[in-house]
């Protein structure tokens, strides 16, 4: 088990770096004395102690990737469980995605689906039957070759759960295996998102009958066709995967092992990247991004993501059932100010339920933008023209939520709305939102597949089980458009339907979009080939250490 104090020898904290750190920390101490000991002061101190004004080391030199080495990635939360059909934690999914692979894969830009373990497919004329040809020569990390029996078992497993990811496969009727290299999927109705659904991490391929093990034992040490294989997991501490020597992509993976280490403290993670005891920091806070950019041998990359933040308004609680009230509130949100305050400028204001990183996003969606005059005229049209009193449900300890609540509180005051802020811890907030036991609050979404249908189901369709993103919004027009889009295969037609839907949802102001934000990652500059898709998934096979 690699520990935090060990780094690969090539990346050790050298004497020279230490000298720079020494010089800077002395200066920082003086600054600290002046700045007081606020949280931001402390963060800047830690970030600054690594280096001075020199720009980050020139990375991306085009040397061929060097095989070997152990990479340590630090993150704030541990994985929880590896049952791919049941677990929703990103911290788990991003790890098991190195072990399990799907028939298809989402493209890097988030807009397409590409062949992966299936090398080609055809579709019947009635659009109900899909025939997939499997890639030959793919083996599980335990040495057994992958066949259609494994695929059928995996897809059936992912469809058959309760309270898990089965909603992704809800359109699948049957999966059959005419021969070891062919898989046939019949859908209950024409289903456009199928290829994207098959790339969902829950549809990763595992050995038939769990390779002869009990289900629980299998997921304690899972086996897949991916570039890395299970090694060790010290729960609450660190998890290591080792290279799958019989991986099917030639020459990959480069690394011998990858370790995900749990370091809950933001400052400690940054220190470890600066000191070189870790190579990738999965969650540098936005408040430290600028300072980290100035540290030698550290690069910060903002990967475009599907993370989108929304204001929730519970339409079961008047006056939020009044569209004018919702629009007035949406107009009153200064989204530019929020991007500055919450993301330190690292994001863009949102205009649609969809995000620019999913297919069929329409940049012309008429989402409300900050305009107090319009907000006031909407209020005048509403059932409560003189305002009302309401309570914002905020997650305690969440600086994003605190900033949103404060900005909103100030804006709504101008509309005569008195907004009180009630803090609960994140689990309680989530629970109260789900039980529709709140008035106004904040939440976010990240996509798991390269198709907007996953979000649309949850936010619009009653069958999605999400109470319209916990707002109880109910529009038959929106529901019609959503189901129509699921059956439409022609991209141009589908775009038209989704554009209509986005416009409708924006005008109903049912879930005002706040902003689109990237995934920030801080890395040592010797890390090459690391990139994150808009879904948050990353492929460690192509990563190497220079």
């Amino acid at each position: 088990m690699a520990s935090s104090t060990e780094g690969p020898p090539s990346d050790a904290f050298t004497r020279r770096q230490a000298m720079v750190a020494h010089e800077m920390s002395r200066r920082s101490m003086l600054r600290l004395g002046l700045a007081g000991l606020g949280g931001v002061g402390l963060a800047s101190l830690l970030a600054a102690c690594g280096g001075g004004a020199s720009s980050s080391g020139a990375s991306g030199a085009t040397a061929p990737p060097k095989p070997g080495g152990a990479l340590t990635l630090v993150r704030s939360q541990d994985s929880v469980d590896f049952d791919k059909t049941m677990v929703f934690s990103n911290a788990s999914i991003w790890v098991y995605n190195q072990i399990f692979e799907g028939l298809t894969i989402g493209s890097a830009d988030g807009h397409n689906v590409e062949p992966w373990l299936a090398e080609s497919w055809t579709q019947s004329d009635d659009r109900l039957t899909w025939t997939f040809k499997l890639k030959q020569g793919v083996k599980f990390s335990n040495g057994t070759p992958m066949t259609s029996a494994d695929v059928k078992f995996s897809l059936d497993e992912a469809s058959g759960t309760t309270g898990g990811w089965e909603f992704i496969n809800s359109a699948i009727d049957t999966v059959t295996t005419p021969d070891p290299a062919t898989i046939v999927i019949k859908t209950k109705y024409p289903w456009a998102p199928l290829l994207a659904d098959l790339a969902c991490p829950s549809n990763g391929i595992i050995p038939v009958n769990y390779g002869g093990k009990a289900k629980k034992d299998f997921y304690t040490a899972p086996v897949g066709t991916g570039p890395f294989a299970w090694d060790t997991w010290q729960k609450g501490n660190s998890l290591t995967l080792k290279k799958n020597a019989s991986y099917w992509r030639p020459g990959l993976p480069y690394l011998d092992s990858v370790t995900w280490q749990v370091i809950p403290d933001d400052n400690t993670r940054n220190v470890m990247i600066q000191g070189g005891t870790a190579q990738i920091n999965e969650n540098p806070p936005f408040s430290t991004v600028d300072q980290l950019k100035g540290v030698p041998n550290v690069t910060v990359t903002l990967f475009p993501s599907t993370r989108t933040d929304y204001i929730l308004m519970n339409e079961q609680r008047p006056p939020y059932n009044d569209v004018h009230v919702r629009r007035a509130i949406s107009y009153a949100i200064d989204r530019e100010a929020l991007v500055k305050a919450v993301l330190f400028g690292n994001g863009t204001p949102g205009n649609s339920l969809f995000m620019p990183t999913v297919p069929y996003y329409d940049k012309n969606t008429p989402g409300q933008t900050f305009d107090m005059a319009k907000a006031k005229s909407e209020m005048a049209l509403s059932s409560v023209p003189t305002g009302f009193t309401t309570t914002y449900l905020a997650s305690s300890g969440d600086s994003t939520d605190a900033a949103i609540a404060q900005v909103l509180q100030a804006s709504l005051k101008q509309l005569g709305i008195t907004m009180n802020i009630s803090n609960s811890d994140p689990s309680a907030v989530h629970d109260m939102q789900n039980k529709l036991n709140y008035e106004i609050s904040h939440s976010y979404w990240t996509m798991d597949i390269n198709d907007p249908d996953e979000l649309v189901q949850f936010a619009v369709l009653p069958s999605g089980g999400g109470h319209s993103f916990n707002t109880s919004y109910n529009s038959s027009q929106a529901q019609d458009l959503a189901t129509q889009a699921q059956k439409t295969f022609d991209p141009a037609q589908r775009q038209q339907i989704y554009s209509q839907l986005q416009a409708l949802l924006a005008e109903d102001a049912f879930l005002p979009t706040l902003f689109y934000q990237p995934f920030p990652y801080a890395m040592r500059s010797n890390v090459q080939g690391f990139s994150v898709k808009p879904t948050g998934l990353y492929d460690m096979a192509t990563v190497s250490l220079a």
Binding site: S4, L46, D81, F167, D265, M272, S424, A428, S443
Partner: protein
Amino acid sequence: MNQVLYILRRLVTLIPVLLGISVLVFFLIQLVPGDPAVTLLGSHVTDAGVAALHQQLGLDQPLWRQYVTFLGRLLHGNLGESYQYKSSVSALVLQNVVPTVWLIVTGALFAVLISVPLAVWAASRRGGAADNAIRSIPLVGLGMPAFWLGIMLVLLLSLKAQLFPASGFGTGFVGHVESIILPALTVALALVPILVRSLRAGLLDVLQSDYITTAHSKGLGTPRVVLGHALRNAAVSSITVLGVNIAYLIGSTIVVERVFALNGIGYLMLTAILNRDFPIVQGVTLVFAVMVVTVNLLTDLAHAALDPRVRLA
């Protein structure tokens, strides 16, 4: 023999204490809003999913029955299964308790190693410059929050001087020792001012007693008088102070563990509370309770060993 009986009796009284704590913890955590199933299901939570998970985790049972199940398991030494990790709580606690125990033991050790010489020095120079300095300077340590002090130590001794690792628990015994020094120092510096003051006061008190005068008049040198005769008696009250503070410290290791990325049971507890992983919260609380009771017991034993007038009964 008497002592062994005493220890056994104390251990038996642990049972009602733990039982009481288990009742408190079990029912208190139910008062906190937040459903474990909703938390586990994340942003994709649906009513069907919550119902299925409730059934799987046994949360659909009435509360009293859940408690009976919990107690039944506990009697078999089974702390149950974590909701989030789907694995045994006992194994998780055992794995994570090691750094916490290291932290508490070395922290206490450092506190004693620093405090005793300082207190002796201060008491033997009563009212002098050294006495005043020793009484006032360590107070700064008391005023500094552990997260800040910890970060400062990392900055100075780890990033700058490169003497110790900045975080983690290292590998092997030597690795553990290297890694524990800074966190233990952070813990110790908060204890030192309290210990120094109490020990100094005890020493001054004792130094005025008749037997010290006798010792002096026998012609013994001051070091011999202070270390050989006075310290032992003066330490009695300080031992109690140390014991109480260590018991208090056990609950507050969470902050130090977090700063130094020592993933001990404090960290386990924190994430379990946030994720409503009730079995872990209950398990760790019981472990904390055992630790506090053990420290109190050790304090009493040390007290008795130092002062023959104290009878263990």
